[in-house]
């Protein structure tokens, strides 16, 4: 994603190009191929991290920076979320009904609705402090003290965090796959299809074949990698051979996979004895990913695979020759072709690798969490992975953080739904808004009144703004003196 933007730097606003701090290292490498052959295209790339020749003020540099935009994007997204919570909250609407009689009621109700919802989200995603306190109380009543209290209470408290990690596992792996295709200039919207292909293959090997413990697991994972790779490879092949837009073909392959699995779950091969139910038998114990935190929690070894996938992304894109080719094609296909890279073969390669990783994500989901195939086993992971990859700017650390964040939002959202009655769909809205805001830094800056940074020499029509500008100029003059 970043690579693409750098390729056509002129029309991308500065902030969009910059990477989060950890990615700054690979930014120059990203632009390198483009810079060699097409200096004009990449002259503006490099983005906000490179200060302008005129030397902007400290304030400008902060305002141009990425961190501010990210923080503000979250603030705005949660603000919109708060409004939605209010609209859906009956107590608030009732209080608002007699707003002019007792306005304080309205504000109290609003404050309560919002804080309770977000507190529930935190409790459900990170640390359930009230649950922990309850357990501690309970044990104390029964006469326990010291570690006997703290241990179980702490475990109870971090239960949501472990759940968040479980949810994050397939999300991170899948977005690593998506990120590889984004950085190679291919818009892989086919997360759902590749995930389903992988999940189906892994699940089938898991319940239909019987093998010794470790081998079974490896076989199931490999099956998922192959299936996902093939599913992604189809789109790559169509692009390389026929020039078919990968956006369209991956979307179509998503739905083909959805209906394919739905059909498979009506056949005896997939449903086992109970053919009326569109679910497969449970995956054999030998093919399941081992649990990491004891039998009480769902956290499984897929997390290790997720971390490995992150490292793989870093290695592939920053250290390997193949990754360099992928990136070169992503930055500037024409230049890459002149340099002797087979663009078509690269497209197939990218899609196979991306599909394989997304397929692996499906495998961890089935073998670790779900244990059986159902029609909507993929849920919204496929699309969430796209947003995670976008939010993480397709970089390793960015994806790790964004994946954890999105997983936390969705586990927290689930808890919020059950405890506060706020539908979990709120989380989707917040996620979408965060990505939209971060994609358009000028909008965020405009919303907080930092418009000058994007259009420094724009004449001000309004008198107030003119006065503000004059004042600004004076203060900066004063500072310079």
């Amino acid at each position: 994603m970043s690579a693409r933007h750098e390729g056509e730097g002129q029309h991308v606003a500065p902030g969009t190009v910059t990477e989060t701090g950890t990615d700054a290292a690979d930014t120059p490498a990203d632009t390198a191929p483009a810079a060699e052959t097409a200096p004009t295209a990449s002259s503006t790339a490099g983005g906000g991290s490179a200060p302008e020749a005129s030397g902007p003020s400290v304030l400008q540099r902060i305002a141009r920076g990425n961190l501010l935009v990210i923080v503000l994007a979250f603030v705005f997204a949660f603000l919109v979320g708060s409004i939605l919570i209010l609209v859906s909250d009956q107590a608030f609407r009732e209080a608002a009904g007699y707003f002019f009689a007792r306005p304080a009621d309205t504000f109290t109700a609003a404050w309560q609705a919002i804080t309770e919802a977000y507190a529930a989200m935190f409790r459900g995603a990170v640390y359930d402090y009230s649950g922990a306190a309850r357990v501690a109380e309970d044990i104390r009543e029964r006469g326990g003290s010291g570690l006997y209290v703290l241990g179980p209470a702490f475990l109870r408290g971090i239960e949501p965090l472990l759940e968040t990690l479980t949810v994050a596992t397939p999300l991170i792996i899948a977005s690593v796959g998506i990120a590889i295709s984004f950085r190679s200039g291919l818009f892989n919207i086919g997360g759902t299809g590749q995930l389903l292909a992988g999940a189906t293959a892994a699940g089938y090997v898991g319940f239909a074949v019987s093998l010794p413990p470790v081998i079974h697991l490896i076989a199931a994972l490999l099956a998922a990698i192959v299936a996902g790779g093939i599913w992604g490879g189809i789109a790559g092949l169509l692009k390389a051979r026929f020039g078919a837009s990968e956006v369209i073909s991956t979307i179509m392959l998503n739905w083909i996979a959805v209906y394919g699995l739905a059909f498979a779950l009506t056949t005896a091969a997939f449903t086992g004895a109970n053919q009326a139910q569109p679910t497969s038998p449970a995956v054999a114990g030998t093919a399941r990913l081992p649990l990491l935190a004891g039998d009480d929690f769902r956290l499984h070894a897929g997390l290790v695979l997720a971390l490995a996938a992150i490292v793989f992304l870093w290695w592939l894109m920053n250290r390997s020759t193949v990754g360099f080719r992928f990136r070169a094609v992503g930055s500037n296909p024409r230049a890459a072709e002149v340099a002797g890279i087979d663009v078509g073969r690269s497209a197939v390669g990218v899609m196979v690798v991306a599909g394989a990783l997304v397929g692996l994500a499906g495998a961890t989901h089935v073998l670790g969490t779900e244990h059986r195939l159902t029609g909507d086993v993929a849920g919204s992971i496929g699309f969430d992975a796209i947003t995670v990859a976008l939010l993480g700017r397709s970089g390793p650390v960015g994806i790790l953080l964004a994946g954890l964040l999105f997983a936390g939002l969705s586990t927290g959202g689930r808890y919020m739904e059950t405890s506060e009655g706020v539908p979990i769909d709120l989380v989707q809205v917040i996620q979408a808004l965060v990505v939209l805001f971060i994609a358009a830094p000028p909008l965020v800056r405009y919303l907080v009144g930092l418009r000058r940074i994007d259009r420094p020499r724009r004449p001000r029509p309004s008198r107030r703004a003119a006065a503000y500008a004059a004042e600004k100029a004076e203060t900066s003059k004063g500072a310079a003196a």
């Binding site: 994603m1 693409r4 056509e8 002129q10 029309h11 991308v12 606003a13 969009t16 939605l84 609209v87 859906s88 200039g185 291919l186 818009f187 919207i189 169509l238 692009k239 390389a240 051979r241 026929f242 020039g243 078919a244 837009s245 990968e246 956006v247 369209i248 073909s249 979307i251 179509m252 392959l253 739905w255 083909i256 209906y259 394919g260 739905a262 059909f263 009506t266 296909p333 024409r334 072709e337 663009v343 497209a347 699309f383 947003t387 976008l390 706020v422 539908p423 769909d425 709120l426 989380v427 989707q428 809205v429 996620q431 979408a432 808004l433 990505v435 939209l436 994609a439 358009a440 909008l443």
Partner: protein, 445 residues
């Protein structure tokens, strides 16, 4: 990005062999594809039907305007024999097209299209005799279902045509449909009138359209990203309101309303096509009006020329004084409004209340219909009809009595639009030419 999307990316253009323009490299795609289909018709449809089974096609119904019984009521055909004859006809057409293409003497486009259409009709009839062998097909009902299912797809595809012709990729059709459906029910229920809902639907969809335009045109964010994210946003927001406000008070916010059916007196009595075309809600008539109007507007008026110029070569358009970004804004908004009407079809057009994620991928089929229809309003409508026909068949086959029919899994028919589109973007059905500046933001130099 432009390179990644446009079919004339370097990967494709270098493979396009220069010279011999009369026989392009892809000359054998269409004949080979048709031949394969014909072989399927012969091998599967003709042999698959139970021996001696007949398929009854119901054409005219009682009470239809049918002077002297010109159109027969029920036509019973031997399933196997009919499929065999039609399959042979299909094969003959494929061979003729193949031979003519091979000797570099292509037919005039008019004849070519006629042959392909005849092929399509014969193939579908063969398919129907096989799929419904031993049962009765009520063609009128089948087509009626098709029309109901096609309308949202067609509106969505028209939305895509409007914005992509101006150079803005519109993946957010799904979100626009959903917002339209949501707005129609919400506002309609609050006002207590389906007509108010009909007005509200396009306005609600404009929200998504405006967001798409703001981010894609105003802030030049990657247009595919904006579309995908806006779909997530639309699903999230409508599901949120469905789960909270609408659930708390369905009587006020989520009532099943229905637009009245407008019957055109004499024409509605025609056999088979009467009810399909002339006994529908206003949305269906609107759809036909928009298709005709948009075709004329795009290809016969100054406005259309400008829109296409903006989509093909924005800099040239700018040079002659066309405001590129304003044209794009207008078109995206117009498209969103049209898609909103499609959304209204899902709820007030069919008389159901709003449901979570009720567009269920229709926006993506609409996208496919737009591509298959080659960014042309009429093509988009035809593609939408074809896709809807597959869906209608699937519904119809689901209601067949046990033992009758060929037992085709409904999932395959649901999959069909996507597979057809996959072939279409690969160039088997003829290369789809994307507007040259589709997806490329325009910045004045």
């Amino acid at each position: 990005m432009s390179t990644a999307l446009a079919p004339d990316s370097p990967a494709a253009s270098t493979r396009e062999a220069p010279g011999r323009p009369e026989r392009p490299r892809s000359w054998w795609y269409l004949p080979a594809g048709l031949a394969a289909l014909a072989v399927i018709a012969l091998g599967v449809f003709a042999r698959g039907a139970a021996a001696g089974a007949t398929t009854t096609f119901r054409l005219a119904r009682e009470g239809d305007l049918n002077p002297g019984g010109i159109v027969p009521g029920d036509v019973a055909l031997p399933a196997g024999g009919t499929a065999l004859v039609l399959g042979l006809l299909c094969l003959a057409i494929a061979v003729v097209l193949g031979v003519l293409a091979a000797i570099s003497r292509p037919l005039a486009p008019r004849w070519r299209i006629t042959l392909v259409v005849v092929f399509g009709l014969a193939w579908v009839t063969a398919f129907l005799t096989w799929a419904f062998n031993g049962a009765r097909v009520d063609l009128g009902t089948l087509l009626q279902t098709m029309m109901v299912l096609a309308v949202p797809l067609a509106f969505g595809a028209l939305s895509g045509v409007l914005s992509e012709r101006a150079g803005v990729i519109n993946i957010a059709i799904e979100g626009q449909l959903l917002f339209g459906a949501f707005g129609a029910v919400l506002i309609g229920s609050m006002a207590g009138s389906a007509w108010v809902g009909l007005l509200a639907a396009p306005l609600m969809a404009l929200v998504i359209g405006a967001l798409l335009a703001l981010f894609a045109i105003g802030y030049q964010v990657q247009q595919i990203i904006v579309g995908v994210v806006l779909n997530v946003f639309a699903i999230g927001l409508t599901s949120f309101f469905f789960g909270s406000v609408m659930k708390q008070n369905p009587g006020l916010f989520n009532r099943p309303l229905r637009l009245p059916t407008l019957r055109i007196p004499v024409l509605a009595d025609l056999p088979v096509i009467g009810t399909v075309l002339f006994e529908q809600t206003i949305l269906v008539y609107l759809m036909f009006l928009i298709v005709v109007g948009l075709t004329i507007a795009l290809f016969r008026t100054r406005w259309g020329l400008r829109v296409r110029a903006v989509g093909e070569h924005p800099r040239a358009a700018d040079t002659v004084g066309i405001d590129v970004n304003r044209t794009r804004w207008t078109n995206v908004l117009l498209g969103a409004a049209v898609a909103g009407l499609g959304g209204a079809t899902l709820t007030i057009g069919t008389g159901v209340a709003f449901g979570e994620e009720m567009s269920s991928g229709k926006g993506y089929i609409a996208l496919a219909a737009m591509i298959l229809g080659r960014y042309h309003p009429v093509g988009a409508l035809l593609a939408a009809l074809v896709f809807a026909f597959a869906d209608a068949l699937q519904l119809n086959i689901g209601t067949l009595p046990a033992g009758a029919g060929a037992g085709i899994p409904s999932q395959f028919l649901l999959m069909l639009p996507y597979i057809v589109t996959l072939f279409a973007v690969a160039g088997v059905v003829g290369r789809v030419r994307v507007p040259a500046a589709d997806g490329v933001p325009y910045v004045k130099q």
